[in-house]
Subunit: 249 residues, 6 copies
Amino acid sequence: MRLLVVNPNTSASMTQRIGAAAGAAAGPGVEVVAVNPAHGPASIEGYFDEVFAAPGLVEEVAKGDGAGFDAFIVACFDDTGLEAARSAARGPVIGIGEAAFHVAALIAHRFSVVTTLSRSIAPIEANLVKYGLATRCARVRACEVPVLALDDAASGAREKLSAEIECAMAEDSAEAIVLGCAGMADLAATLARRHGLPVVDGVAAAVKLAEALVGLGLATSKRGPYAPPLPKPFVGAFAGLGRPTRRSL
Amino acid sequence: MRLLVVNPNTSASMTQRIGAAAGAAAGPGVEVVAVNPAHGPASIEGYFDEVFAAPGLVEEVAKGDGAGFDAFIVACFDDTGLEAARSAARGPVIGIGEAAFHVAALIAHRFSVVTTLSRSIAPIEANLVKYGLATRCARVRACEVPVLALDDAASGAREKLSAEIECAMAEDSAEAIVLGCAGMADLAATLARRHGLPVVDGVAAAVKLAEALVGLGLATSKRGPYAPPLPKPFVGAFAGLGRPTRRSL
Amino acid sequence: MRLLVVNPNTSASMTQRIGAAAGAAAGPGVEVVAVNPAHGPASIEGYFDEVFAAPGLVEEVAKGDGAGFDAFIVACFDDTGLEAARSAARGPVIGIGEAAFHVAALIAHRFSVVTTLSRSIAPIEANLVKYGLATRCARVRACEVPVLALDDAASGAREKLSAEIECAMAEDSAEAIVLGCAGMADLAATLARRHGLPVVDGVAAAVKLAEALVGLGLATSKRGPYAPPLPKPFVGAFAGLGRPTRRSL
Amino acid sequence: MRLLVVNPNTSASMTQRIGAAAGAAAGPGVEVVAVNPAHGPASIEGYFDEVFAAPGLVEEVAKGDGAGFDAFIVACFDDTGLEAARSAARGPVIGIGEAAFHVAALIAHRFSVVTTLSRSIAPIEANLVKYGLATRCARVRACEVPVLALDDAASGAREKLSAEIECAMAEDSAEAIVLGCAGMADLAATLARRHGLPVVDGVAAAVKLAEALVGLGLATSKRGPYAPPLPKPFVGAFAGLGRPTRRSL
Amino acid sequence: MRLLVVNPNTSASMTQRIGAAAGAAAGPGVEVVAVNPAHGPASIEGYFDEVFAAPGLVEEVAKGDGAGFDAFIVACFDDTGLEAARSAARGPVIGIGEAAFHVAALIAHRFSVVTTLSRSIAPIEANLVKYGLATRCARVRACEVPVLALDDAASGAREKLSAEIECAMAEDSAEAIVLGCAGMADLAATLARRHGLPVVDGVAAAVKLAEALVGLGLATSKRGPYAPPLPKPFVGAFAGLGRPTRRSL
Amino acid sequence: MRLLVVNPNTSASMTQRIGAAAGAAAGPGVEVVAVNPAHGPASIEGYFDEVFAAPGLVEEVAKGDGAGFDAFIVACFDDTGLEAARSAARGPVIGIGEAAFHVAALIAHRFSVVTTLSRSIAPIEANLVKYGLATRCARVRACEVPVLALDDAASGAREKLSAEIECAMAEDSAEAIVLGCAGMADLAATLARRHGLPVVDGVAAAVKLAEALVGLGLATSKRGPYAPPLPKPFVGAFAGLGRPTRRSL
């Protein structure tokens, strides 16, 4: 099984870390390839960044479909471009936010999400409603650490994250914590031990759910909103996209 | 007052028709300018097309903000890129789907939407949930006419649209009809007369709501998800977007 | 265009202030007339007062319909009698609560309402649910100032209102504030400047939405719950209401 | 125990029938008095009629409170003026619509309502949402028989009602039927036998729930929206209502 | 009328107290019999205990049905086994949690529940959603007193309960309190006086609702999920249950 | 990894088939053991059967926990006893209904469920609401084939199932089908081919999700409703359950 993990932002260092986290989660016989688009923002913090990250994400998924990948992961917690990516590939496509919510719902009655910046709370809440899992989430919280500071030991990022987890346990009666950023992937195990409750990282969750779907022989339904895109003229930067070969999906 | 209407697809003929509809709806003293992006799909039919239309839409709104426009309309019924556009402009930004739903909710207890293709039903339903107005909508229906066929007299488009409106009246007890595509803008009055109930076109609705917001001196709140984008590196096709001048929003 | 603003309580001084606020908001060519019923309570604070204010409100709307007004505003934040008024007029009828919610939803992801007394919280929350916009409202708050004290400089009303707005910003992450009483109409601009976020007044909002609907040529659908009342005997105080001429609506 | 049943319309014959139905349902030791207001419409069919029926209803409840009644029933299926009546009495106040919904929810997972005219569907649905029981109701249906025709053997009313019940059983999988009009009170037992499922009449249901509340020593909470009305000036037809003695509630 | 109250736990002392509370609430002519199963846990605190209490509960209800009881009460606030019990009896079956929620909804716009241990919050919340009444409940709270300590004067149970009620009044704006455990039945009147708001005990509430249903001649609908169980083989401890005589229900 | 699949009914032949289906779905290195309780009903069709199946199910899970199994599957589509089982094991516990809903939600915007008998519709709908996924399910349908007839070629079971799938595709616009009974596990692949859309079987789905959770090192949170049961006396048939060793969970 070949799994393509697409980091929709353009930070190669983050792509590497996400790829390493995905590879560590993958089972035997699963080849993980991690890529990021050639254009777009260095991190995704809010709706504006999402719009400019999504085309590159979808193009990478479409390329991966052509290259025969079996499943695809959208490795931004906002699940940027997830639905469009579903229409661009034959194999299943999973967002790391979505994956984390589903996994958390299987091990806890109610969970809280801790993300980076408060401007990301609204899109995450909207996703929870869209997926149907809003009633399972006690609260989406932000620790007010920018995405690119998560790596910076001097930023106090981990302490802020731990403090917010403590608040979620005390104020939300959270039974599990979902880490709301791909850049937090390597912290889950440490935080789970420190705080004594399950901590879900979306990258690993998405890898295991992708393995599950491929193992089940299931892929995105092509009846409805995820049908292949209709062929039509595309102009300018995206001029190649309208070609009739898209029909083949 | 200067109003920028952005058709997010790249069909100049549709931009012209939308501009004409918007101009006809605008009050005295309102200058309407209609534009479309230089890149992207010729029509927007589903999630895939949305992703490639949104960057151009947001760029046009950002340019319009720089050029001093007072308000902005996203002229695709899916409200493609609406939230990102809000973070890219100081003035209010209104989607034509959103506008039509709010206007219909002011004149009817329950309305139905008639859009083009069934693949667009899911995104429209998701928007209704996001906006909070899903309980006011009896049903989102598709008349199965492609966007670009709406202009083609030989396509039977108008008859299919009328037939679907009759179904909405009989089966949904719809009290009003929302036309679910910018390309239907010039049909509203005729259909209202033929079927004897209010028919709402989103383009005109958005123009009047934009006038209302400007008249009230109200613009998008910058507390929360519509705050100006954070400055950060953008690479590739969108390389110019991360420049610090975005702070000025 | 002729716009009838009906203050459903019997305080002529409040009618005057509401009329002035509505007139200030109205565009050129809009004639605003503000009236109040000849019977009913001096202010509307809770369900009891609403019941005794509603008949006079509906009678004024019906009279206005006979006098050829183009649109109608119910100028109590509880939207007292709004639905009955819709069935009593051909032109559109807008409640100031409803108007404020819709306008706030166009400029903010989530807003809070600050009303007068806590006994009004339940009816306002019920309206939000009925309109479908409850998910857009973070919280309905009361500053515990009686309606008729809003004018009294010695009451500390404005300070209490400001304090509650600060709470809404801090505790609810409110992105915009809706003022929950017609008597607060003239405070919106000052409060917006002081607190640095959009503040929506329902009177002005309703005027602009009424102008929008009239401009669109749209009026209340007569299919469904807002159909003209059926002719039938009325006895006692309301004896004149059942006359068959009501059919003509 | 003394129970006041207020028919909010002004049809004395209907008041008599409602009183008889209530009396038949009442247990030993319960004195039932049925009244109707001196002013208002002869029947309540939609929002317009409700507004003109509610003041008389609330006045009758307030008079009954002064006269020492222990509990009160609002005998219109729309629960006209119910919340205001709650603030006007010390004893519990129950609407027949509300009563029927609660009783049906205790004997069936999902029920359907069959009311008179389709214009009443929206207010009934709104009540179900307000009470929280909308998820328990499969559908609100109208048999298109005017209230005052229910008594008229030549109107075919009973056949239409039976036909609609059959539809509810077949199409909604309704497990129980709620009769959606006070004027249908005497048909419940016959229809239950004919159709072989529980049929709930709101008048009898409200009587038994009122007995239950009085038996439990429970009355409307005066913390919140049902607190006694604040004393204030009332002018015109309702001039006597603002007197300070209302404080005593 | 003969009413069977089944305490689903095996603490005979609690059965006695519940029986006494039920008897005190019952009207004249109502014979109350209180029983508990011969097997199962001594108290029900969470999902695990529920599963082992439910079979005995259903068996007692089925026996009571054979013995001609007219109505049945499930006397655990979690409404353990309520739905299965409904399918096992001809007469109506009421849970004390369910009864308390319905009664509270008739006397207050919004109520809070105070139960024993926080592990019971989730099942109670799930019931509120299932019954449809979740929107009427401000919050489910736990006073962290084990069920069997409620009787122990030295446990400080009553003080903890009172403290939690104060929190519900201050933080939830609760208008009424529902006591969330059958073992609290005898405290309702005292707490209502002390805190000055309605306090609802589910045991008494269920008795009065059972009387109401029997008085109305209404019983559980047998169309749908509460139909009599299908005859089929049962093995082991429950071997007698599959016998065809179950058809007779 | 050792996976215990518990069929909560007592039909050994069905246990064998479920075990075979689970074994076929399991990845390399996963040991699957399938068991059923020694007591309870031969099939689970509705609430009554569930109550008598749940104790045996929980006992098997608790025994499996003692025997060191890593994860557990509740192999009845009603997810009988799932929550109690979660409190009885350290490893993750997954219901096949739950698993099928989550998997379907990852590959389709909206799915329909086809179960055996209509009496099972209500419990399945209740589960969908409890899990939060009700908005993702278009409709729960029954093909009216008893569980034990699924194996009987002469019963026409497969034709009825196919016919109901066709209805779900035509009437519900279902994009995927969830098979609503453990006994349908071996039909999924055939039906998917025949009808041309994804068909999800809960047994296989649960196996892959269990593998995913174990692979992620995640287990049920013990904060909240799934905490180990409190030690307390159990009498009668379940007398051994209250022993303090339960603390060790």
